[in-house]
């Protein structure tokens, strides 16, 4: 069964509004990665979180890893049309395979 759940499936926002996607694992993860996939493109690595409770920022993007290392979130402040795409989380246990979430498709209206 699916190891990593991601919500919401879709999010439509007005430009300037904030956006958050959530990722939950049924088991403790050793690390979690976030990727962005533009329409017609391939996943592009954004960031990796390793430590419990870790928070990392990239300009308008804030990534969090839960204390129990079972959940994570990606928050975008003041969305722009360039943020359009599908955001995936990918969790790993030990050095094993990565389990990708089903993704959150973000649409930003100008």
């Amino acid at each position: 069964g699916q190891q990593v759940m991601q919500i919401p499936q879709y999010q439509h926002v007005q430009e300037g509004e904030d956006f958050t996607t959530y990722c939950n694992s049924s088991t403790t993860l050793s690390n979690i990665q976030w990727y962005k996939q533009r329409p017609g493109g391939h996943p592009v690595f954004l960031i990796q979180l390793v430590k419990s409770g870790e928070v990392k920022k990239q300009k308008r993007l804030t990534f969090q890893f839960g204390e129990a290392k079972k959940n994570s979130s990606l928050h975008i402040t003041a969305t722009q049309t360039t943020d359009v795409g599908t955001y995936f989380c990918a969790g790993q246990r030990g050095f094993n395979k990565f389990y990708f979430g089903s993704g959150t498709k973000l649409n930003v209206k100008p």
Partner: protein, 112 residues
């Protein structure tokens, strides 16, 4: 550095046929993973190669097989194609087993 390259870009096959997809990893990367991405879904892990050996395998039937060559390039073979095998096949390379993965542009396989 050309990044991860994959060939062909698109492929159309009929049920029962066999297909071979190819991947060249990013320079300096020795780990190659293959993923299947159905429309509207996240990438599903097929298998991973490191040092020319299959290190890990996802929940895919034996019809899916692969190979890694001494130069770290890799092939994905799928036998007895089914309609449900239609998907984007992504190759990802990484410098080790747990760091960021660099994805190629993918091969769009259509099975008729």
């Amino acid at each position: 550095d050309a990044g991860v390259t994959q060939s062909p870009t698109h492929l159309i096959k009929t049920r029962g046929q066999q297909v071979t997809l190819r991947c060249s990893p990013k320079s300096g990367h020795d780990t190659v993973s293959w993923y299947q991405q159905a429309l509207g879904q996240g990438p599903q892990f097929i298998f991973q190669y490191y040092e020319e050996e299959e290190r890990q395998r996802g929940n895919f039937p034996d019809r899916f097989s692969g190979h890694q060559f001494p130069n770290y390039s890799s092939e994905l073979n799928v036998n007895a194609l089914l309609l449900g095998d239609s998907a984007l096949y992504l190759c990802a390379s990484s410098p080790d087993l747990y760091n960021e993965q660099f994805f190629g542009p993918g091969t769009r396989l259509t099975v008729l």
